[in-house]
Point group: C2
Chain length 157, copies 2
DNA sequence: TTGATTGCAAATGATTTGCAAGGTT
DNA sequence: AACCTTGCAAATCATTTGCAATCAA
């Protein structure tokens, strides 16, 4: 019954036309660039997986040991406001793998493992939607849910 | 800074080939069909939006007043195990609209409003991925993130 | 009957907030 | 100097769990 609960994973936005690093964008928006923030940014920018806030904390503390948990949350909120991050929450997965700038997953509903793929058939759709809704689209997330081979096997047994 | 926090929204799985109602599927899986569960099921099956557990509780209490919060969570977990529900968590949106069986949203990063659309360009991709990863795919979620016309305007001002 | 299920209340876990101290511009 | 940021600890909010009573099969 998925006793593990759920996790917040951080979803970096794709094709946002990022000309500057996050640090610069943070400053451009009038925020100060402090050592704690730098540490968090470095972790996030370098992440090859979705990270929980707690993981961000752990890793960022390797860079800036005194870092407080609240600062991580505050920085995540800040980046979310700037449209650089988007929090999502998925149940059942101990961890979600992700390829650098892609946001395309295949998530197993049973074991929670996820697989990434690169195909992105939404480009045309994106343009069409941008036009129809007059939206400025910054990124997307495409996830398929199902059963992986191992779990299907286990289920049959 | 999005003081509202985040919400759990319930994502019904699409094209799952549902031949029976959830009540039947629950029983088929060996679970008992109780009044509290019936109430929750009725709310979920009738929902035209993503619902937070708290909303499910509120609505289900209209049907079965004595309903306890824990039972809602337990039932949601049960349905998740059966692959009928999938919990997701999105930040920044007060509510997420959704069209009956579609799971295609356009979410404004600023105001959190969401718009639904029907196009679904992933059918072929789904088949291709199912083959490549040997996955049994049950549903999917496609979300675009961006800025709606109103918020873009407000931002420019 | 008999084990599954329930509501309640307490326990847990995650996230947010108040505040005095410290850091950035 | 002025005000933004920080870390800490306390507060809050969401979710889970223990348990005795109740209910579906």
């Amino acid at each position: 019954m998925q006793p593990e609960g759920y996790w917040v994973t951080i979803e970096t936005m794709s094709h946002s036309g990022q000309e500057f690093g996050w640090a610069e964008q943070l400053q451009a928006a009038g925020h100060r660039l402090t050592a704690p923030r730098r540490a968090v940014l470095r972790v996030l920018e370098g992440a090859r997986t979705h990270l929980h806030p707690e993981e961000v904390l752990e890793r960022a503390r390797l860079i800036y040991p005194g870092l407080g948990r609240a600062t991580v949350y505050r920085t995540l909120a800040l980046l979310t406001d700037l449209g650089l991050l988007h929090p999502i929450r998925l149940g059942g997965s101990p961890r979600l793998a992700r390829i650098a700038e892609g946001h395309h997953h295949l998530v197993c509903l049973a074991c929670g493992h996820s697989f990434s793929f690169e195909e992105c058939p939404e480009r045309e759709l994106e343009a069409e939607l941008a036009r129809r809704f007059d939206f400025e689209i910054k990124g997307h997330l495409l996830e398929f849910y199902g059963l992986c081979p191992d779990c299907r096997e286990a289920e049959d047994a």
